[in-house]
Structures are given as structure tokens and as C-alpha cells.
């Protein structure tokens, strides 16, 4: 009798190698004292979030530009030669800019590799364009547009925006974009149209993100200027195709740039992350 009183007076310790007279899964009032809430919370500042959201907007600009170019080509406003020359010039300029930014010293190997990439791409694109042109002749336009839409959506979803989420798959997003471009290219009348559109798509979806990333690392302030520039280009080009599309675009822009950050900040107080000794151990290197 005396012995048991003694035992209960002693404080229960959270160890199992002592026989404390209670079952193994016993917890006392000190349970949950070690719980910590919302340890790694970050406070967001509105305009900073708005500034960062332009990463997503840049990719959306690319998509809209591409679709606008397609419609312009279909309406014969844009000739394939002009598109090809323009995109080639811009690519060469961008390449030189990239080259300058990175201050690369070991030049020959990467230049040879880039030259090889370009060569393969041009040859393949040029030889397969006739096939690409007649690929979807018997499929209805609506099906093609639906497929293109889903493929570009996949491109946006799986794109690498600088985070390390599990959903990111760079190869898949690029492939989806090229698939979409081939779908649209097959709707165009001649081989030249198809070839120039596919070339333009490749440069826009494969090469431009590389330059963008490098620019962001070295000149962060340039992002806003770039956004304004591209935004106005998109607005102008889409407006000449259809006015409804412009409205949709502007609404989308507003949504992503203004509304989404506000929403994010509004939702911060509801955060309720629980941390405790039950978390998985993270080995610090």
C-alpha cells in the first residue's frame, strides 16, 4: 500500500526502460507540451507576392503569344517567311545575350553542342514538315483545338517555375507544348507554314525559358519591365484576332497577379501546422 503511493508521487517519465507501473502507451498531463504550432510560418508582403507571381505570368504570355501567332498565320496576316526570319533573329540575339550573361569561358564545347542541337532541329523539322502538314487532315478541327488546349494546359501545369514540387516534370511540359504545336501546325495550308510555326514554338517553349531563368538570376529587376513589355505585346496581338480573347486575357492577368496574392495573404491566419517530436527525423548535413 505504501509502495504504490510512493510510485504515483514520483513523476511519470517518458521512458520505457523503467517499470513505472503503468502500461506502455500511458501519457500524463504533460502530453502535447512539446507540440509547437506554425513554426516555419512566413509572413507575406502583398507587393512582394505580386512581383513573384510574374513567373507564372511569363509562361502564360508565351502560350498566348503562340496561339495568337497561329491565328494570325491562319488569317494570312502573318507570312511564314516573316515569322521565320523574326524568330531566328530574336533567337540569335537571345543566344548572344545568354552567352554574355553567363561569362562562359569554355566556349567551344557548348557552342558545338548548341550548333548540333540547332542543326538536328532544322533538318528534322524541315524534312518532316510535309508529313506533319497532312497528319490530321481527316480529324475535325474541334478535336484538334481541344487536344491543343489540354496539351498547353499540361505545359503550364508541369512547368518548372523554380520550386521543387513533385509535380514538376520539365520533359513532359516541353513535350506537351511541342505536341500542341504540331497539332496546330497540321491545320495550316502549306509546308512552310507548318515548319515556321513549329520552329517558333520550339524557340518559345524550349529556348526562351532558359534565357528567362538566367536573366532572373542575374538581373532580378528586369522582370517587371519584361512583364510589361510582353503583356502589351500579347494584348495587342490578341486584340487583332478577337476582342473576347483580350477581355479573357486581361481578366486572367488580373486574377493571377492581384487576386491570387490577396487570397493567399487572406488565408494565412487559418494556417495550423503542428510540429512535434513525432515528426520524421531530418538529417542535417
Amino acid at each position: 500500500m505504501a509502495m504504490s503511493c510512493d510510485r504515483s508521487r514520483k513523476k511519470w517519465q517518458k521512458v520505457l526502460y523503467k517499470d513505472q507501473g503503468v502500461s506502455d502507451n500511458y501519457v500524463d498531463e504533460s502530453f502535447l507540451e512539446e507540440m509547437k504550432k506554425n513554426l516555419h510560418i512566413r509572413t507575406y508582403e502583398f507587393w512582394a507576392v505580386v512581383r513573384e507571381s510574374n513567373v507564372v505570368m511569363h509562361q502564360i504570355y508565351s502560350v498566348w503569344i503562340f496561339v495568337a501567332v497561329y491565328f494570325h498565320m491562319r488569317n494570312f496576316v502573318l507570312t511564314p517567311q516573316f515569322l521565320f526570319e523574326m524568330s531566328s533573329a530574336v533567337t540569335i540575339v537571345g543566344y548572344i545575350v545568354n552567352f554574355v550573361i553567363l561569362h562562359e569561358n569554355a566556349l567551344t564545347k557548348s557552342r558545338w553542342k548548341d550548333g548540333k542541337t540547332m542543326g538536328i532541329f532544322l533538318i528534322l523539322g524541315f524534312s518532316l514538315s510535309p508529313i506533319l502538314m497532312t497528319l490530321t487532315k481527316t480529324i475535325s478541327t474541334d478535336t484538334i483545338y481541344a487536344m491543343t488546349f489540354f496539351m498547353l494546359l499540361a505545359n503550364l501545369l508541369f512547368h518548372d517555375y523554380g520550386t521543387d514540387a513533385a509535380i514538376v516534370s520539365q520533359a513532359f511540359s516541353l513535350n506537351a507544348a511541342i505536341f500542341a504545336s504540331i497539332c496546330l501546325a497540321s491545320r495550316l495550308p502549306t509546308t512552310w507554314h507548318a515548319f515556321s510555326l513549329v520552329t517558333f514554338a520550339f524557340e518559345l517553349f524550349a529556348l526562351w525559358p532558359i534565357l528567362r531563368r538566367n536573366l532572373k538570376i542575374h538581373f532580378p529587376r528586369l522582370q517587371i519591365i519584361l512583364s510589361f513589355l510582353l503583356g502589351s505585346v500579347v494584348t495587342v496581338s490578341v486584340a487583332t484576332v478577337s476582342s473576347v480573347a483580350v477581355v479573357v486575357f486581361l481578366l486572367l492577368h488580373l486574377f493571377i497577379t492581384i487576386l491570387c496574392p490577396a487570397w493567399l495573404i487572406r488565408l494565412q491566419p487559418y494556417k495550423n501546422n503542428i510540429h512535434g517530436p513525432w515528426d520524421e527525423a531530418v538529417i542535417k548535413q
Binding site: L128, T134, L135, N175, A206
Partner: protein, 600 residues
């Protein structure tokens, strides 16, 4: 000498049903103590003179080691109770003091009486002590004449070994097998015993289950077949089997050339492998109950040749060859024209499906060119066709099977363009499927790890991604077109294969037709006895009559077609067919797949 039934368990006593009416005598037979059975195969009358010359008895006769007991027929004038009878018999006769019996001290004798009393009687030569002992037994009556006459019994029992049935069937089969083996084994031993006995003992047999001479019918059959067999073997079969064993025909290329056309294959099966069968039949002393395999095969061959000659005669005399040949050629040309229209339909918008125009155009013209070649071939063949048909009927001399396989070959030659188209379309389809699956993995940014046989994520270069996506798109959009062409030609090919399959099934059926057995079954049913029927004659004591009935025709047929490999062994089930169709692998139902060797 056996010590009598010891221990518990049912003791089986097999008794010939013919002995039930014989007078009392000593029983001859064989016993097995451990497996608890005893078979009575003969009845030996006691000798008249009491004092015998021991030497005379020993000379020229095997010791009466097969003496197992006494049969007591109550209708005999000397009679009494069971034990008294036994005592009477064992004490009275000097047979009892024969050399073999006196050597052992304690022997038991099985006393059977017609009333159903069975005793194991212990008799000692010196003391004439009789101690009857009852034990659990069952008497099984069997028809020794039928067992001896049947040629098919052992084969049937051996074949039921290979059957895999459910448990009840197995148990039943095992028990039947047990009974049959015991009885047949004892009868065989008895046969050798009787053959080696001296004539004095042979005269004393009241009943003996042995065959004096070969059944008359089998004898007649042997004589009948001797001369034609001689003719066949020396003139045709031995030279042809020598030919087929030549080194020349073992070359893989030549072997393939012979195996693929079914006519040559059939001839090889029929005439080429005869020599080995003859050899095996001659070297081993086959059981005297079995007809020689030579007879069986010669009979089958004769049936075949007769049917072939009949067909030949019918076709030649009725004169319908010309009209059929003409009609056939006209039909073949009409089929070619139909094919052309089918291809034009495929190149257009078939069934409202969205076909890729340039590809369909290209494929359609490719196949159209083949049809053009085919029509030219038919045109050159036309003048000679009816002559070819007429003289190919001559192959009926070699048998109806050869004619049927010739027909099969003709069909496959006439549909060779379908075969070609199917092969082209299947290869293209398979290639496209393999490429598509690999490029889809590239599309998702993954790669097949061949070593580990799993899908891993991979980092590709930009140009690799671009080229891969380009090809993937192209292949994806041309996939329905290829599938359509492949399906159409696969269906046609399967149609032709089913017709050929029916022909080859009938050929293999005729190869194994058991003409000889059917003949035997009709004329002398007792020689084809195989079905066992057990019926209870008397309950107290338990007496079962094991009847041997002639086997049904269906069972005979199944017996002779037992050796054909089943479809599962060949790997040609429906699921494998479906899988091959979907993947685009080629279907060869007549070539047996070689066993794959695993490199482990």
C-alpha cells in the same frame, strides 16, 4: 509357402467363375501375404495311387509350389463339415507328403467350399493337425476366359495411368488397376507354369486358366496380313524409310522444306517412320495377347489407301474434275478482283473511320501492286490448271490422307497473297506498337531500364525531346490507319487458317483411326474387353462378381488418339491467340514452338 492371413484387413480371394461347378480338388494359384490377396488359377485333381516314387515325382515336374489350398464342392459324394473336409483331404492323400510340402514345417492351406465357407487351415505333415481359423475375406469371381482373350486390357490400364482425374476417379482407377494387374500377373505366371509342367501333371488339371493356342481370329488376321505386309515392307516402306533417314534430309533447310508443305509432311509421317516401328515390334517379344503393332498400322494404312483409291476412281470416272478446276480458277480471279475493291474501300473512308490519307494511299497502292502480280500468276497458271488437278488425284494411291494434305497445300498456295499481306501488315503494326510505347515513355520523361526491367526517370537533351515528340505525334496519328489494314488482313488470314485447320484435323484423325480395333470389336468383342463391372452376388459371405465387358467404341477411339499433344502443350490456347493478334506477332499454328531454353 505362405503362412496364412495374418493381422487385420480384408483378404481378397480371386476365384475363376468356371470353377464353381468343378468337383473338389486342390487349388493352384498365387498368394501375396503383404498385399492380402490370393488368386486361384487352376484346379488339380489328386493322384490315384497313394504310394509314389519320390524320384518319379521330382523328375520332370516343377514342385507344386503353386499349391495354395483346397476347393470343396459340397455336391461331391465325400462331404462333411468344413473342418472335417479339410482334415479329410489333408490327411488322406500322399500328395501332402510330396517333397515341397515336407520341407516346410508349418504351412497353411486355404480351404474354399461352394457354400462360401473359407478357412485357413493349418496342416502339419507329421501330425495332421487341422486348425481352422476364420478371417475377414471377400471372394471376387472373375471370368478367366475373358481375361485371357482380351488384348486391350493391359493397354487400357496403362493408359488410365496417364489420365489425371479427380480423387474418386483416381481411387477407382487404382483399385481397378490393382485387380486387373493381380489377375493378369497371376494368369501370366500360370501360363509359364503350365508350359513347364510335365504331361502327367497337365493331365490331372480339372481346370486351368491358360491359353492353349492363339485365338483363331488373330491367327487368321496374321495370315491375312502376312503377304501384303511382306510386299509393302520390301517394296515400298523400307526403301522410303531408308530415304527419309538419309543425311541429305537431315539438313535444316531441306528439313524445313519438307516439313512445311503438309503433303510431304504427311508422307513422311506415314511412310518415313515405319522402319523404326517395325524394329521395335520385332526385337521385343511382345505379349502374346497383343496383336502386333504392324498389323494395326498396316490396317490403318490399307483403310487409308482404299479410301484414296475410291476417291480417285470416283473423281476420274465422274469427270467432274474439269468443271471443278475451271470453276476454281474463275473463283480465284474473282477473289483477286474483290480484293482490289476492298483495298480501294480501305483507301477511301472505310466505315466512317478517320484514316490518314497519304499513308492509306501509299499502303493501298503497295498492296494493289501485289494483287496485280498475283493476277498475272493466275493467268499463266490457267492453261495447266485442270491437268494439274487431274493428275494430282493420282496421289490417292498413297491414301486419302495424302489427297487431303495435297488439297491443303493447294489452298495455301492459292491464298499466298493473303499470307503475304498479313505478314506485311503484322510486321508494320508490331513495329509501330513497339515504337509508340517507347516514345510514350520519352514523352513522360521516363526510360525503360532493361537491366532492372523497370521504368526510371531520365534526363533527356532538348533535341532528343524534340525529335522524340515529333516522331511520337506522327506515329500516333498514323496508328489507326495501320491498325485498320492489319485487322482486315488478319481476319482474312484467320479465315484461311481455319479452313486449313479443319483439313489438317481430319488428316490427323485419319492417321490414327483404329480400324483394326473396330474390326476386332465388331467381330470378336471378347478380345477387346476393358470395362470392369463389379456386382454383388451374395452378401453373406461377401462375394463379388468382377465382370469384364467389351469397351465402347468411343473408348477405343480415345485410346488410339492418346498420344496427340494437347493444345495447351503446343501453346495454342485462345488467350495466346488473342495476345498475338493484339501485339501483332505472327500466327503459325502448324509449327510447334521449340522449347525455349532459359540462359540461367
Amino acid at each position: 509357402m505362405w503362412k496364412g492371413p495374418r493381422g487385420s484387413g480384408l483378404f481378397r480371394i480371386y476365384f475363376p467363375i468356371e470353377c464353381l461347378n468343378r468337383p473338389s480338388a486342390f487349388t493352384i494359384g498365387y498368394v501375396d501375404e503383404s498385399n492380402k490377396w490370393a488368386v486361384v488359377t487352376g484346379l488339380l485333381r489328386p493322384s490315384e495311387s497313394s504310394a509314389r516314387d519320390p524320384e518319379g515325382q521330382d523328375r520332370g515336374s516343377t514342385p507344386l509350389s503353386s499349391l495354395i489350398g483346397i476347393w470343396i464342392n459340397r455336391d461331391d459324394d465325400r462331404g462333411g463339415g468344413g473342418e472335417e473336409d479339410a482334415l479329410h483331404w489333408t490327411g488322406d492323400h500322399s500328395l501332402y507328403s510330396s517333397s515341397s510340402l515336407s520341407s516346410s514345417s508349418d504351412t497353411d492351406l486355404l480351404c474354399l467350399s461352394k457354400t462360401g465357407e473359407v478357412l485357413a487351415v493349418n496342416g502339419h505333415p507329421d501330425h495332421y493337425l487341422c486348425k481352422g481359423r476364420a478371417f475377414e475375406f471377400v471372394i471376387i469371381l472373375y471370368d478367366s476366359a475373358l481375361f485371357l482373350a482380351s488384348c486391350t486390357l493391359m493397354q487400357l490400364m496403362n493408359n488410365s495411368d496417364d489420365d489425371d482425374g479427380d480423387d474418386a476417379g483416381d481411387r477407382r482407377n487404382n483399385r481397378q488397376q490393382d485387380n486387373v494387374q493381380i489377375i493378369s500377373g497371376s494368369l501370366a505366371k500360370h501360363q509359364t507354369y503350365v508350359d513347364s509342367c510335365g504331361s502327367e501333371i497337365q493331365k490331372r488339371f480339372a481346370f486351368s486358366a491358360h491359353r492353349r493356342r492363339k485365338p483363331f481370329l488373330l491367327h487368321v488376321a496374321d495370315c491375312m496380313f502376312a503377304f501384303p505386309e511382306y510386299l509393302l515392307m520390301n517394296l515400298i516402306l523400307i526403301p522410303s524409310s531408308w530415304l527419309s533417314n538419309l543425311r541429305f534430309f537431315q539438313i535444316p533447310a531441306i528439313k524445313m522444306m519438307i516439313d512445311i508443305p503438309s503433303t510431304l509432311n504427311q508422307m513422311k509421317i506415314r511412310y518415313g517412320s515405319y522402319q523404326t516401328e517395325c524394329l521395335t515390334a520385332q526385337t521385343g517379344r511382345h505379349c502374346p495377347k497383343q496383336p502386333s503393332t504392324r498389323n494395326v498400322n498396316v490396317c490403318c494404312l490399307f483403310g487409308d489407301v482404299c479410301l484414296g483409291l475410291l476417291t480417285l476412281g470416283f473423281l476420274w470416272t465422274s469427270g467432274c474434275i474439269d468443271s471443278y478446276a475451271d470453276r476454281f480458277i474463275v473463283w480465284a480471279e474473282a477473289v483477286a478482283v474483290e480484293f482490289e475493291s476492298l483495298l480501294h474501300w480501305l483507301m477511301g473512308v472505310p466505315a466512317g473511320l478517320k484514316v490518314n490519307e497519304p499513308l492509306a494511299y501509299f499502303l493501298g497502292h503497295f498492296f494493289l501492286y501485289h494483287i496485280f502480280l498475283w493476277k498475272a500468276y493466275l493467268r499463266t497458271l490457267r492453261p495447266f490448271w485442270s491437268d494439274i488437278c487431274y493428275y494430282s488425284c493420282l496421289s490417292g494411291c498413297l491414301g486419302l490422307t495424302v489427297q487431303l494434305s495435297l488439297l491443303q497445300d493447294l489452298i495455301s498456295m492459292m491464298t499466298i497473297h493473303i499470307y503475304c499481306f498479313y505478314v506485311y501488315a503484322a510486321r508494320l503494326y508490331h513495329l509501330q506498337i513497339v515504337a509508340l510505347s517507347s516514345l510514350w515513355r520519352l514523352f513522360c520523361g521516363k526510360k525503360l531500364n532493361v537491366l532492372r526491367k523497370r521504368i526510371d526517370s531520365a534526363s533527356y537533351d532538348i533535341d532528343q525531346l524534340f525529335a522524340g515528340t515529333l516522331f511520337f505525334t506522327i506515329l500516333l496519328f498514323t496508328f489507326p490507319t495501320t491498325t485498320l489494314f492489319y485487322l482486315v488482313f488478319a481476319v482474312l488470314r484467320l479465315l484461311v487458317l481455319s479452313i486449313q485447320g479443319m483439313l489438317s484435323t481430319s488428316v490427323s484423325f485419319m492417321n490414327k483411326m483404329p480400324v483394326y480395333w473396330f474390326f476386332l470389336r465388331l467381330v470378336r468383342p471378347s478380345s477387346t474387353a476393358g470395362r470392369l463391372n463389379a456386382s454383388v452376388v451374395q452378401h453373406e459371405p461377401l462375394c463379388i462378381y468382377l465382370q469384364l465387358k467389351p469397351i465402347s467404341f468411343r473408348e477405343l477411339f480415345r485410346m488410339s488418339t492418346r498420344n496427340a499433344p494437347s493444345a495447351e502443350v503446343l501453346g495454342n490456347t485462345w488467350t495466346s491467340l488473342g495476345k498475338k493478334l493484339i501485339l501483332g506477332e505472327l500466327i503459325y499454328p502448324w509449327i510447334e514452338p521449340s522449347p525455349k531454353s532459359h540462359p540461367s
